[in-house]
Symmetry: C2
Subunit: 328 residues, 2 copies
């Protein structure tokens, strides 16, 4: 029998989940839940119910795992504990500083309901976190580096759009190649914020806006841009739509470390992602962990888990025998 997946929230991430389910023969999409009027939402999969979030509880016996596609700022802190009281759930909560609190809330709800909740799934947090953990466990004497990009930062693009005179904008975070190379060469550099990433902005101005003033305001914006070397390009809306409509991202996790009786040997572990679509890749990770949530639940487990707590074999549709024969 297939694992029946529910999608809570139908934006970029929700659509990504829908596409990913189609690639996994052991899964099926049971229903999509939306805060909008369900009549106005049309999904890609034929014959799938689109329901109001208020109907979710009625699906308790028809959804094996609910994947929560809300935002980390306000949606997930409320939604994940709430739905963990009815379903096995998976989310992509990414506010690093609030993970301990979120974990505790989801753990309490899931333990009470006897369900499994897996939080902070995706690539960072998620696959990048896993790689930091493995690399640290293997090379205790070493140094970690994480670089992001080249990719679109939604938060930074939004920040530019709030500047007066800006009609539309896209911002790319770009890792500094020289810094990456220094890490790869085992130089163990101490890198400032400015030395690790640059920021490139493509901006469409409102009619009559002052370009120099907009550029100055972007470049000096605290938290977002003032600590970085920032480049601003002014382009037309047509150009922005044509060349900058994608949501690519990616990045690098590196650890350089030493082994030997006197630390005489150096090693470099590097993990990198180059993603055409940030939300679709994140969705693909979420779907793999939905499989794990389902299996752990079937084994009688409950409570909150993170990627650290899940044995890799749970992510694959293959059996232990198949995995050992084909991938070990």
């Amino acid at each position: 029998m297939s694992i029946r997946i529910g999608i809570m929230g139908y934006g970029n991430l929700g659509r990504g989940i829908e596409c990913a389910i189609r690639q996994n023969a052991d899964m099926e999409l049971a229903a999509v839940f939306t805060r909008r009027d369900p009549e106005t939402v049309s999904v890609l999969t034929e014959g799938v119910a689109v329901c109001s979030v208020s109907e979710a509880e009625q699906w308790k016996d028809k959804v094996d795992v609910m994947i929560l596609c809300g935002g980390s700022a306000t949606d997930l802190p409320e939604q994940t504990p709430k739905y963990a009281s009815m379903f096995n759930v998976v989310d992509s909560f990414d506010t690093h500083a609030r993970i301990p609190e979120h974990f505790a809330n989801v753990d309490a709800a899931a333990k009470e309901s006897g369900k499994v909740g897996i939080i902070s799934v995706g690539w960072d947090p998620g696959m990048f976190s896993l790689n930091r953990l493995y690399a640290n466990a293997i090379l205790p004497d070493g140094k970690d580096y994480t670089f992001w990009g080249k990719g679109v930062s939604q938060g930074h693009s939004d920040a530019i759009r709030r500047v007066e005179g800006v009609r539309d904008a896209k911002q790319y975070t770009i890792p500094v190649e020289a810094a990456l190379e220094a890490v790869r060469n085992g130089e163990n550099p101490e890198l400032s914020t400015r030395q690790k990433h640059t920021r490139e902005c493509f901006v469409v101005l409102e009619e009559g806006a002052d370009a120099a003033k907009v550029e100055e305001e972007i470049k000096t914006m605290p938290n977002y841009f003032s600590d970085y070397d920032t480049t601003v390009h002014f382009i037309s809306q047509e150009e922005l739509d044509k060349n900058h409509s994608g949501i690519p991202h990616g990045g690098f996790v590196l650890r350089s470390g030493k082994t030997g009786w006197e630390g005489e040997h150096s090693h470099l572990i590097e993990y990198s992602l180059k993603l055409d679509s940030n939300p679709e890749f994140t969705s693909s990770v979420l779907v793999a962990y939905a499989r794990a949530a389902y299996r752990l639940y079937k084994e009688g487990q409950s409570g909150c888990k993170t990627v650290f707590d899940i044995a890799p074999a749970y992510l694959s549709s293959k059996s232990g025998e198949e995995l050992r024969a084909s991938m070990l």
Copy 2:
């Protein structure tokens, strides 16, 4: 209390284990076991017992995990089941085709003794296998590539040394940069053996040996060299000792895959290792999995496991709370 580690076999790998234990504050080296006369073996760690393998059973209550450092051809198929009947064990069994049989033997012995055995730990099999599994679970519609090197292949170096007229030799396996780039560009190339790796040999001739004949014999050697573009350099023993005494290795695991409703987006996942010392890195992985074996045993688990079956958190000396706060 520290996790007490025993080392079975004191060659390059055993010495690597000894060094790695020193980097992990929650572990201590209990004893080293050797087939040689213990009197002739001196270890780096002060005050540690060197014992004959025949004494191992007497250490049942004084060793928490025995790390087996024998070879895969003849040692481990016999040793791992044998010692799994007395100890929690970890090995680096790397004969891919015989893993199912080895797994079954270790599983039977470990289930009977109530101990945990973790097999095929290292980087390939090991970390590379894990990365294949994670990437396949995330991107079901994709293609896998593994490249090895640049690094020393002991098997190929040994094969050259068996050629008449050769006094000493080192062989490097080198990934073909153009093939790697084609994979990174998402071209999904079909690659022949020759297109993936080249082989570079540094050979010291016996006095009066025929260089042309030796070169021909190496380059046409079936299985080892005939399917590859091979370069042979003749050098002096001094040069070999000076420039080629290390045991570096490494490699790349890549998966390129598609997502989206019609597979319209491409993604690349890449994991790579650049290792100054192949045996010391392998040892560092073995020691992290020894920690996992100990913890699983303490939880009451038993039987054979591979890296696929171990939740990442078991590898780290940090608690779940610490890991979530610092690495997620």
